[in-house]
Amino acid sequence: MSEPLIYVLDMAVFVGIFAILAVSLNLEYGFTGLANFGKVAFFMVGAYTSSILANMGFPYLACITVATFAAGFVGFVASLPALKLQADYLAIVTLAFGEILRFIFKNEEWIAGGVQGITVPSAITITGVPIQTMMLIQLTIVYAALAICYFIAQRVVNSPYGRTIRAIREDELAAQVLGKDVFKYKAQMFTLGSAMAGVSGSLFSQYVRFIDPYTFEPILTFTVWMMVILGGPANNLGVILGAVFVQALERGARIAKDYLLLPVDPHNLRVMIIGILIILILMYRPQGLFRESKVKTPALEVASKWKKRS
């Protein structure tokens, strides 16, 4: 077991954690058209809830479950006023919401130590195993969670419900006069997306074992947005690959910084590369690397048989 393996495992864990966030933002933005710029808020709620419970001695399964529901609940409550707003205003309000929440965690020391942050006890303690094995266990848990989130997201978007949320994204008024209670769908997707962000936050806190308010700055939200825009909104596989790509750059830059002698700091170069890529993508391939996936339901099969008949 060598150090490069640790780097690879570390990167893989971060890819998994961020892929969950990307899938959750894709449900909100890619499919429903909700510009949620406060993704980090729900990630933060998940992380703090999970950490506080872990410090109280709850088993990890309880921590992650409560964190999921807590983030989902906060998402639901936040969505009630926020979703009355049009796209751009929703973006501003959610962005501000994330910052307000972060300032609460920062200034209210009794919640979780304020600026001092909070150390998270490990959920799984096996003595005498090498660090790589521990990381493999973490990795398994993260990817199991990602698989569940991916399954849920795929099920949702490949259904009549998924067709309706895409219709809402395309034209809200038309969806309304066709009998869709638009607000209900939006609130449900916002809640589901927030709950998934809670899962991700809980896994994150358990992996890094220490969180403070500076971990949850708005840049984290933008990182997830990059993944969705690069990968292709409304394509779940695409945004996961977007997460792989952005994290590979992010972590790869750190490895390069540690091991290679370069005339420039690769860690800073990475920011430029991502910026240029986003501009290129938006100019030449605004749909992202992957196109929007079809609504896969039994209707497709009926339609393909129809062609042969006529």
Binding site: D171, V177, P298, A299, S310
Partner: protein
């Protein structure tokens, strides 16, 4: 006596100082094709927007099938069986033609988040039935060969037709059509109105239709309302409208 399906009483809606709909009282008989004509800016579309719940009326009442519907959210009005189309088609551009049809169907079990997970078999069966129905309607409006194309790739006339097909999926009792034949060639415009008449007879629907192609509308309508500056200035059977001096004045300028 014929039953009234839609009735408005003293309906008023203004924007700032402009009364776009001014004290409109009208009735639409069940199973009729009722026309609504009037010069540009006379308030026809605003009247439709107010009836369908897009705008809340300032004053006045709207009855549909004897029930008050004014002030209800658009989706609630739709649930009562009153559907509408738009003057410029509002399709779901990135969705396929078939998905545009399917999204419009009424009370699909798979359109609820929990059923998506818990009742997959049930909604899948329903989905197959609805797809058949959607394709049959697409065949009637001759769009079935475009079923897999995104709606954004259709021509203007085809978009109009798809919008009509889309509301037919909703099994409405009554349809508000905002210029169903605008922007299509005269032959297709005639065919659209023939289809409307056919649908009225076969599905016992009621149509309330805004149309600028007065000659085509008058061939098919049972009753015509004329709007000017937000008010109804005349109503009569179609053959008498063209003889009405007030109406001719409004259309041809001051006499």
């Amino acid at each position: 006596m014929e039953k009234t399906i839609l009735k408005t009483e003293n309906l008023t809606k203004s924007f700032g100082g402009l009364k776009a709909v001014d004290n409109v009282t009208l009735t639409v008989k069940e199973n009729s094709i009722t026309g609504l004509i009037g010069p540009n800016g006379s308030g026809k579309t605003t009247l439709f927007n107010t009836i369908s719940g897009v705008y809340k009326p300032e004053r006045g009442k709207i009855y549909f099938n004897g029930e008050r519907i004014d002030g209800l959210a658009p989706y609630k009005i739709y649930e009562k069986g009153l559907a509408r189309t738009f003057q410029t088609p509002r399709l779901f551009q990135k969705l396929t033609v078939l998905d545009n049809m399917m999204v419009s169907c009424r009370s699909h079990p798979g359109d609820k988040i929990l059923n998506v997970f818990l009742k997959k078999r049930r909604w899948s069966e329903e989905e197959e039935k609805l797809a058949e129905k959607a394709l049959e309607i697409l065949e009637i409006i001759e769009l079935d060969r475009f079923k897999d194309k995104p709606a954004s790739e259709l021509s203007g006339g085809q978009m109009k037709l798809l919008e009509l097909g889309r509301v037919l999926m909703t099994e409405p009792k009554m349809l508000l059509l905002d210029e169903p034949a605008a922007g299509v060639n005269p032959t297709l415009a005639r065919r659209i109105f023939e289809k409307i008449t056919q649908l009225r007879d076969e599905l016992s629907l009621t149509f309330f239709t805004i149309e600028h192609r007065i000659e085509i509308l008058l061939e098919h309508a049972d009753w015509v309302y004329v709007m000017h500056n937000g008010s109804i200035i005349a109503e009569s059977p179609p053959e008498e409208v063209v003889k009405n001096k007030v109406v001719v004045d409004v259309y041809l300028g001051e006499a």
